[in-house]
């Protein structure tokens, strides 16, 4: 179904589909970070680190684009590792603010230093993916359908890796660090090491997403990774719910559909922050576990009706 999807859409909707797929990777990697209980406001900047690094490597040093993307993700990992030393002296609200400050400093450095970051206008004319002829199928970088298939493969592979991580010993330890941090510490788990691990993995995938974006739209600038974008990612995660793997994906898809289809058709794109803000408040007030909870309840209810037994609202 995901393979057939682009053929039912208009050109601009195909472009949206590419962005949506990249955003799924961003929001899923964000959730991986929140597993340890820390909410960051610097995640989109880590995405930007991957984008800038990959763009500079490809444009300045002529690195082959797919290699540059992987190196971009690697550089995001290194930057996250470096940031983890100051940031994990903080917890909770302080971490939130600290991660914002660290991210904003990086963003302002991009803005301030024209060489090599291009200043406020950023980097333009970033090398696209090279065209590849597979014989049975031709990959063309400027065709959204081609790029969509490429991104779909990369994102699916990344999601599988994150899924495996979450369901391994490491993932279970993330949960332990979140819910029972003193107990975990007492059991000989280095809480800080696992928090760092979560941050580093999440930032690596965010960096990869940034690189995918940069080589598609061909330009990066500091405003692409500002706090507004971060708030959108936060909204996807919270509206979708972060208890399950699929929650943030639902949130991201649902809100993109609302934004691109409903608002665009009505010509109310200006109202995007209004709708997002109201949804965010509404979710926190009335559906604190997010859409995933609504899905789970509906599913249970449907299953209950199907088997002829009443399941009391799934509570």
């Amino acid at each position: 179904m995901l393979l057939a999807l682009p053929h039912f859409l208009s050109f601009s909707q195909r472009e949206v589909l590419v962005f949506l797929t990249i955003n799924v990777l961003v929001v899923c990697s964000y959730r991986l970070l929140t597993l340890t209980g820390e909410w960051s406001l610097g995640h989109v900047v880590m995405m930007g680190v991957g984008a800038y690094a990959s763009a500079i490597l490809a444009k300045r040093f002529g690195v082959h684009v797919p290699v540059a993307m992987l190196l971009g993700a690697g550089i995001a990992v290194v930057v996250a590792l470096a940031l983890s030393f100051p940031l994990f002296r903080m917890k909770g609200f302080y971490f939130l603010i600290g991660s914002f400050a660290a991210g904003e400093i990086i963003r302002l450095l991009w803005k301030r230093f024209r060489d090599p970051f291009g200043g406020p206008k950023g980097i333009k004319r970033i090398d696209p993916m090279p065209d590849i002829d597979f014989g049975f199928w031709q990959f063309t970088a400027f065709d959204p359908v081609s790029y969509y298939y490429f991104v779909l493969v990369v994102v699916t592979a990344s999601l599988v890796v994150m899924w495996r991580i979450e369901n391994s010993r490491i993932g279970l330890t993330f949960h332990a660090v979140h819910w029972q941090d003193s107990l975990a510490q007492a059991s000989g788990i280095s809480v800080r090491a696992y928090r760092t691990l979560a941050l580093v993995i999440a930032s690596g995938f965010a960096g990869l997403a940034g690189a995918l974006l940069a080589h598609y739209i061909g330009t990066v600038n500091p405003n692409m990774f500002d706090i507004e974008q971060m708030v959108y990612v936060l909204t996807w995660a919270i509206v979708g719910g972060t208890a399950t793997f699929y929650g943030p994906i639902i949130g991201c898809i649902a809100l993109t559909v609302v934004n691109e289809i409903v608002l665009r058709e009505l010509g109310l794109e200006q109202g995007r922050p209004l709708v997002y803000g109201l949804l965010l408040i509404g979710t926190v007030l009335f559906l604190p576990k997010g859409l995933e909870d609504a899905v789970a309840r509906t599913w249970k209810l449907a299953a209950g009706l199907w088997s002829g037994r009443q399941v009391g609202g799934g509570r």
């Binding site: 400050a101 660290a102 109201l278 965010l280 926190v284």
Partner: protein, 289 residues
């Protein structure tokens, strides 16, 4: 050299004046309710747009408009308390997230109502006090400085001398003990939200003619206010005022001698350094988060 220093000092004093109004409200709300209000910069912005609507467009007297800004934004604070913070009393993260949602709503409403372009507000008075050749103080800036000082003094008297002030400080110190003494946390939260909103609102109203008014102007204000309350020690009102002065001098100084972006980086680094070395802040003693 001395003249440039004096001029920077005056500029910093003006920045410190409106910044401390915003930061003190933020601290008050955090102290009483344990919630970080991310929408506080937008309350400042609404205060400025009250001036755009009533003073530049309808030509009402500035003093009246500033008073309306104070009350109106204070009432928005009360609205936030009723609709979001009260239902989310036991969920500080939820309150924080809801305030981010509220920030987006306010920004979008103002953008839809007034457009996203910069608004030009004529100053209350064009007069400039010429202290020397290169040291000048526009009277409007002096008005901001004096009114801020007056408002802060009034707040100080309210908190230290009145029954409500005592109740407010008690519930900031220990909400449970305060509740046991018969202090209604609902009432103190309402008062805190009103005062916090009102201070941010009048700060926005007073400075509207002096800064660029756009729907996103709250962003730089809230970042500066966060730096101030972290450096000042979260939960300490005196610390916030002191830190606002320190921050304004550093930021204005760096902006004058190097450039604005570097000044922002220096400010954020200052906050990060305080968070690393002493998360309770330089002047604060208590940790509630």
């Amino acid at each position: 050299m001395f003249e440039l220093l004096a001029q920077t000092g005056l500029n910093a004093l003006y920045a410190a004046a409106y910044l401390s109004l915003v930061a003190v409200g933020l601290v008050l709300i955090f102290g009483v309710m344990g919630i970080i209000n991310f929408a506080h910069g937008e309350l400042f912005m609404i205060g400025a747009y009250v001036v755009v609507a009533l003073y530049s467009d309808l030509q009402m007297p500035f003093v009246l408009v500033a008073a309306i800004g104070l009350v109106f934004v204070g009432c928005i604070g009360i609205l936030m308390e009723f609709t979001m913070f009260r239902p989310l009393r036991d969920n500080p993260l939820g309150g924080l997230v809801a305030s981010i949602g509220f920030l987006m709503v306010l920004q979008a409403l103002v953008a839809l109502g007034f457009g996203v372009r910069m608004e030009h507000v004529p100053p209350f008075t064009q007069e400039v006090i010429v202290l020397s050749d290169r040291v000048r103080l526009p009277v409007h800036r002096l008005i901001v400085i004096v009114s801020s000082a007056t408002l802060l003094a009034a707040l100080w008297l309210f908190l230290k001398r009145t029954k409500f002030g005592w109740a407010l400080r008690a519930s900031a110190q220990d909400p449970e003990a305060a509740a046991l003494q018969g202090i209604s946390l609902r009432t103190t939260s309402l008062i805190a939200m009103f005062i916090g909103g009102a201070l941010a609102g009048i700060a926005g109203s007073l400075t509207a003619p002096l800064i660029s008014v756009t729907p996103t102007m709250g962003h730089s204000v809230i970042v500066a206010a966060f730096i101030v309350i972290i450096v000042g020690g979260i939960g300490s009102l005196e610390g916030a005022v002191l830190a606002a002065i320190v921050y304004a001098f550093v930021h204005t100084g760096v902006t004058t001698y190097i450039d604005g972006v570097i000044a922002d980086i220096v400010g954020l680094s200052l906050m990060l350094a305080v968070l690393i070395v002493r998360p309770t802040g330089i002047f604060g003693a208590r940790d509630r988060a």
